[in-house]
Homo-oligomer: 449 residues x 2
Amino acid sequence: MQTKIILPDSEIPKQWYNIMADMPNKPAPPLHPATKQPVGPDDLSPIFPMALIEQEVSDQRWIDIPEDVLKIYTLWRPSPMYRAHRLEEALGTPAKIYYKYEGVSPAGSHKPNTSVPQAYYNKQAGVKRIATETGAGQWGSAMALAGSLFGIDVTVYMVKVSYNQKPYRRIAMETWGAEVFASPTDKTEAGRKILEADPDNPGSLGIAISEAVEDAATHSDTNYALGSVLNHVLLHQTVIGLEAKKQMELIGDYPDVIVGCCGGGSNLAGLSFPFLQDKINGKQLRVIAVEPASCPTLTKGEFRYDFGDTAGLTPLLMMYTLGHDFVPPGIHAGGLRYHADAPLVCQLYHDGLIEAKAYPQTAVFEAALQFARSEGIIPAPESSHAVKAAIDEALRCKEEGKEETILFNLSGHGYLDLQAYADYLEGKLVDYEYPEEKIKEALSRLPQI
Amino acid sequence: MQTKIILPDSEIPKQWYNIMADMPNKPAPPLHPATKQPVGPDDLSPIFPMALIEQEVSDQRWIDIPEDVLKIYTLWRPSPMYRAHRLEEALGTPAKIYYKYEGVSPAGSHKPNTSVPQAYYNKQAGVKRIATETGAGQWGSAMALAGSLFGIDVTVYMVKVSYNQKPYRRIAMETWGAEVFASPTDKTEAGRKILEADPDNPGSLGIAISEAVEDAATHSDTNYALGSVLNHVLLHQTVIGLEAKKQMELIGDYPDVIVGCCGGGSNLAGLSFPFLQDKINGKQLRVIAVEPASCPTLTKGEFRYDFGDTAGLTPLLMMYTLGHDFVPPGIHAGGLRYHADAPLVCQLYHDGLIEAKAYPQTAVFEAALQFARSEGIIPAPESSHAVKAAIDEALRCKEEGKEETILFNLSGHGYLDLQAYADYLEGKLVDYEYPEEKIKEALSRLPQI
């Protein structure tokens, strides 16, 4: 009865898988925020190195992973895949539940899979500093880690309310040597404008993005980095699914259902895209994106062009969106509070290759607790959305008497989210109403394209 | 250039190594606190299952690991061993630095290596509940995890000042289903007595031990569990060193120096004992126990009989001790604040098979930061003592132009200790004077045996 499926270091993928090569319908191109015309490499080169811009638009199926990136990947990759025997037993399900565990990275989530190559390509391009934003801190800490490993400075604009209330990921970033500012700051025009109007503004991810982009655009030695949404970010995450395929092969199994939580969509994409290649080629397989009921981008959003940030400075992307100035309730899964999803995920969802499901947070924490008590690992609140959906699929299999194989992505651990568990255990966690009116309003403010 | 040395699951050790079989001088026997006569199995059976008592006194060289324990070990074992290439480069040392990483366990330290078999043997013996103590919470969370995996209730007496100031490990314990009380409590006579005299008593590990032992002794369905010091605890930890030996063999290397931090001594013992077998048989090898300068048990303590707890309820053990009522300063490495060390470690130190070194905490955190920024992983404050000593050994090699092989135990990660890093980064961390007078006083109060 095998519990853990591991691969030797020699089996770390040497190439990323680019799903653009196989998609039945390519995503619509990003548009310039002012001209509304498709953006070209020149529009992006002030803030991204050319290697990443090329990956962003490439339709080459396989893209080589640089040797220096592979060396760093070895720190935590190949990540383990587990068979959740004890959880299966607790549920009394005939289904087989597997999970790929990305919490083994030094930053505790899947994010370093892309922060490391992003730091590498920027270093190669002679960039001295990377400016980026972070909400609760998962992405910022992954970028800080990568910066420290490649000797590149990192400036993080961290949403002020998280900076003050959740100091631990900030301290982790500082431990890795990054400079962290509570956003809005007085260091950018975007920040100053907001502080003038409202000195006590608690910040938002949208504001922090505007500040980081401005910082990068106005300093020639500085670039910008993003932790999700963009094509090259999802590309880097495919190491997860490529390994999982080998691990499944090793035990002679193949998933009927793949589950990942979905904020911007990068961990879901990372696990599922290499399997979706098979699905596009005719294989039977379901892929489920799991989102919070309070920020139901795929299940309740509209498929249209929208900005990536609140202020409307980024290119317009074709996404399922709730409106770029929609502010979701303050749920504990901070990483899932984005107003839209990656264009690649959205197109695949639109084409019926991905399903979506939304859950309220108390149900998610109930599942997380059952997982922690049977499997040992305390999952991050974001990843717990995938746990919940996997459990529900396993219970469906029990009802239907089916021996399906379920594979989900345990994208991170919950060591830095224990306050959320305390709130749940003390009955303080609330479920928010589906914010229909606010979403309708935010959508009504979108540009018509 | 190999960075990570991993073993397949099939290489998890099937037996623990018992150094009692090979020690040139066996440790003196534990004495009954009242009669001062050697304790027998009957003295221990009210609070320990017979299987563990047998291991405590065994001099059998190899002891089988039960199948059900191996199954759980698979969750995180074999743990990875890393070559610290980037740290070596940063130091400019010809030495090779390796570290065995125990932070991959679900509780984030080496402690589950023993909490899991302890839960197993208690479950086998029909015990329904385990009472234990914890300081900052590393041991308590490992016991809570093990309890949840074997379906055995866990009650943790947590030192009150930590319970209030460091809630995260408490929440982790509760997430795994344990009941956690701020000690001193009104639930035991020991606790009530202390609260009567001083209602605001902040608690201490010694008091918490007294409460847990009393709880176990006064409830027939309840046993007691300890996370360090005792022979059977150190025995269970030898999986670390047994794996490390195989990993060294795999790359054709062997350590010249082995380093581990030392509070009670279990992680140091776990890594070093299997190698010490070779040293006893003539192999060249240094083993260094690293302790905090503010609690310098091996470097400044006396080798004599002392109690394991403050109240003097436990058997008397032959240890290097600072006196059982010595209260070390509140340094951040809470796991190293014990007044003595494991009798096995003490005997080996006494016989010159182990060396010892003490460091003040700011030097330790400086080393931890250098490690985090070059190797990625943020170490626990306890483990950072080993990091510091390993770095110093590597710098000695640089001075002497020697290409020695250094292996240290990175016994846990620092995710739940980030406040300590913040204090260091903000310059708030202080080094305590070596508390010579207090130690002298505490030693003067020891029983003469």
